[in-house]
Subunit: 102 residues, 4 copies
């Protein structure tokens, strides 16, 4: 089962600045071979359900190892069976429609 | 890795009323042996990371089988290593503090 | 515009235990006259869009006053125009269907 | 109160393909003068709390007008008082740290 997901991991109990943790998580998602794209409030990934969740688990394990006593993660997870669709497809169709309105 | 999660699966392309799908998903989470508690905008579950994600995958597979062409799921996922904590613990500590304010 | 929402406010930079903040936020939502129901990963509320958002803003302001340098909040927000629906309606229809499966 | 938010509006009951609705919502956020950046599972925005929520309300109103009987929106909302921070700041600090790991 192929998924497009959006993952935002929030480390708690480690101060207000968490970019070291966010960087580590992003690197883990990328190293897992997922197509991972950073944005200002999370990371888009696409891949097989099991691969995405396995990488997410590794993120939690690793961020705890790095000192975060608690993590709260927000995930959006999309699947569809009516047609294949990539992250690029999703962005491009909206960009095209925005361009035609201008 | 033990997790507390909150799962809200949104079926798309099947009409505005989706309680048949929500019911099916809730039953799958419960049948997976997870402690699953329904609320007005999702279901709380607790269990091992792999068990939760395996049940979630089954939800997506089953809801597609039942006719939903597309699903968009919102998940909150919490882990902590500073102390053990159940869903009941989380609710009870806040309820106690609210009672002491009254 | 009437909404059903689910709000989970995550204080960052204040330690791993945040129940004092969660309690305060829940009390603010309740004091705003919203029907607020606590669960293990957030609070369900229903009311007018403006009333819900005004209360949410007050939560952020107050939790910052109480010492949280940073807050990351996850919200689900539902509106529908095909029929009126309360939080109780949403839970009851699924509970009824679960009961009929048993 | 300045916020960075991430908004993903899911139209229900209108078919599996919803890019017309997503395009309209994105245009409303942009037209509201918010710095709005599209990604594959939502839109980043930054601005004053009231301006962001007012634009979000307009999105719901407009998408209902366009025919969506039901909408379920997922929002992440961040505020911090320890230092000013833009969406660009958030992305750039992580990109810089990723570059230094390479």
């Amino acid at each position: 089962m192929r998924v497009i997901a959006d993952i935002c991991i929030t480390p708690m109990g480690v101060g207000a600045s968490v970019s070291d943790y966010v960087t580590e998580a992003h690197a883990i998602l990328k190293d897992a071979g997922l197509n991972a794209t950073l944005h200002a409030y999370g990371t888009n990934v696409e891949g097989e359900f099991d691969a995405v969740m396995s990488a997410l688990k590794r993120c939690h394990e690793r961020l705890h190892e790095l000192g975060a006593p608690r993590l709260s993660t927000s995930i959006r997870l999309g699947t569809r069976i009516d047609k294949p669709q990539t992250m690029n497809d999703k962005v491009n169709v909206v960009r095209d429609k925005l361009a035609h309105r201008a």
